[in-house]
């Protein structure tokens, strides 16, 4: 079974029926700024009850690195990529990258949202989270 690392952050659709996952964000009804994850009040202007918005990309790569030693509380494999992707809704989002070699990435390259497996938990579930990666057309089929 697949379980999300945390409910309410992203959608994890069945690839056969609904191919594009999305990040669950908010858009402020006052200042228009987009936020991720969802919030009760706008971080920028404190207006309550922003409207929900789905962020699906694709975006462009803005910053990236790779983590070479397991950070605290992390049970998956190393190395893994971490980066910042600019999404068309006007927001930069931090997330894992499917590419762990910094030399294989370039500023501004297109990045798609993916749902990836982190590790198998003690109950035998695959724990999944969101990540960004180069478009699947260029990935090995």
């Amino acid at each position: 079974m697949r379980v999300m690392v945390r409910e309410g952050l992203f959608t994890d659709p069945d690839p056969d029926t609904d191919p594009a996952p999305a990040l669950l964000g908010s858009r402020c009804t006052n200042c228009g700024n987009v936020l991720f994850p969802r919030v009760d009040a706008c971080t920028y202007c404190a207006t309550e009850d922003p409207e929900p918005v789905d962020l699906s990309g694709p975006g462009t790569l803005w910053a990236w690195t790779a983590v070479t030693a397991p950070p605290p509380g992390y049970r998956g494999e190393v190395p893994f990529g971490v980066g910042v992707v600019e999404l068309p809704e006007g927001v930069r989002v931090i997330g894992r990258l499917t590419e762990s070699d910094p030399a294989a990435l370039a500023t501004g390259q297109p990045m798609e949202l993916r749902i990836v497996t982190l590790h198998r938990d003690d109950d035998g579930n695959d724990v999944v989270t969101y990540a960004f990666g180069p478009p699947s057309a260029s990935a090995p089929s």
Partner: protein, 382 residues
């Protein structure tokens, strides 16, 4: 308004000290500062203690050991800027006329190995997104892109600070290094190599503050004036801010917390970056020192590589940065690091620093920034 003077300083060296407790180190630093200031039991009316990992009532444990309690003792946590926060509260209380004399100290034993921060949500840890070095790496990569900084520049920051630190008996690393050695150390998070990152460690620092008009003159050692002690948090917008959000805006219009803090400190002191003679700034990694120089206004935005290459920030240069060796040489005990900078600068202004002395220094600035975000800027004069 009442002025504030620093009349005594004390340090427990920064490093790793098995069998020495957080309390032991705090006692050593506070005892030294009180002795220098000529202050004993009953001679101060409040104490503020910066610590992040010290646990409940760290300040009380230190002052109990010295037999000096009864006054308010307040523990302060503000990440890397915990000491700056303690100093800001103490100075404000003296300026407001609440106290004549206050003890401010910071003491810390950072956990060994990979440090778990309660700042992150459990899911962020599980997803691998609670990696402090990754955030340092991402910020460093952006700064490299926007300011034309290369790995060679980053290595030269380390070489400079380790050269300074070789003359500091309170530093963890008192051995010089080379560009080749820095670049040969393993990559932790691109573009940062191991030698470009400071080591979390242990240590303590303490100050005695007193109302300027009560300082008896001539006193020994000469008092240093605390011209500004400012703490600021972040304004949202930057995805790579020390507030460590998961998202940010696609422009970089929000001023950095360091810039907010520095602007307020310059105003409070009636001084500007051009008036400074010596700076101790946050160098948790080599890129952080260069970014700090830009955010503090020591150079134009994008000008930090040129500032470094000009030699200005080396000892003997126009504006030495981190003459103590910085956190890259001293290591970083969170609650003590900001006050450790202030102790160094007080000694610089008194002319007590021997081979690492900045000649003729009369105006000094200390800067710390970290998780929260918290940014502290302190300006000292003599």
């Amino acid at each position: 308004m009442t002025g504030v003077a620093v009349t005594g300083v004390g340090m427990h060296p920064f490093g790793r000290f098995d069998g020495v407790s957080t309390t032991d180190m705090g006692v050593a630093a506070v005892r030294a500062a009180l002795r220098e200031a000529g202050v004993g039991k009953g001679g101060f009316q409040a104490a503020f203690c910066g610590t992040a990992y010290g646990g409940v009532a760290t300040g009380h444990k230190v002052l109990s050991r010295l037999g000096m309690t009864g006054m308010p003792i307040v523990d302060v946590e503000a990440g890397c800027a915990s000491g700056s926060a303690a100093l800001m509260l103490a100075a404000a209380a003296i300026r407001a006329g609440q106290y004549d004399t206050v003890v401010v100290f910071g003491t810390e034993k950072m956990p060994k190995g990979i440090i778990r921060s309660s700042f992150f949500e459990p899911w962020q840890e599980e997803a691998g997104l609670a990696s402090t070095p990754a955030f340092f790496g991402l910020r460093a990569q952006r700064l490299c892109q926007t300011s034309g900084i290369t790995k060679d520049h980053l290595a030269r920051v380390v070489v400079k600070n380790r050269r300074h630190g070789a003359a500091n008996p309170d530093a963890m690393y008192q051995k010089e290094t080379t560009v080749e050695e820095v670049l040969a150390s393993r990559v932790v998070c691109e573009p940062l190599h191991l030698f470009m990152m400071c080591s979390p460690n242990e240590g303590a620092a303490a100050l005695v503050l007193r109302r300027t008009d009560l300082v008896t003159s001539p006193s020994s050692p000469a008092p240093v004036t605390l011209a500004a002690a400012v703490l600021r948090s972040h304004i949202p917008g930057s995805v790579l801010s020390e507030s460590t959000p998961l998202s940010g805006l696609v422009h970089d219009d929000a001023p950095a917390p360091t810039t907010l803090s520095a602007t307020a400190a310059y105003e409070e002191a009636g001084l500007g970056p051009a008036d400074l003679h010596v700076v101790e700034c946050q160098d948790t990694d080599a890129a952080r020192e260069l970014g700090s120089c830009e955010e503090l206004g020591l150079c134009e935005p994008g000008g930090s590589a040129a500032l470094l290459s000009s030699g200005a920030t080396h000892l003997g240069g126009r504006l030495p940065v981190n003459p103590s060796g910085g956190l890259l040489s001293k290591g970083e005990p969170l609650g003590a690091s900001a006050l450790g900078q202030v102790v160094e600068l007080v000694r610089q202004l008194r002319g007590e620093c021997g081979p690492r002395q900045v000649e003729g220094a009369r105006v000094a600035l200390s800067h710390t920034v970290g998780r929260g975000a918290n940014a502290g800027v302190v300006i000292l004069t003599r």
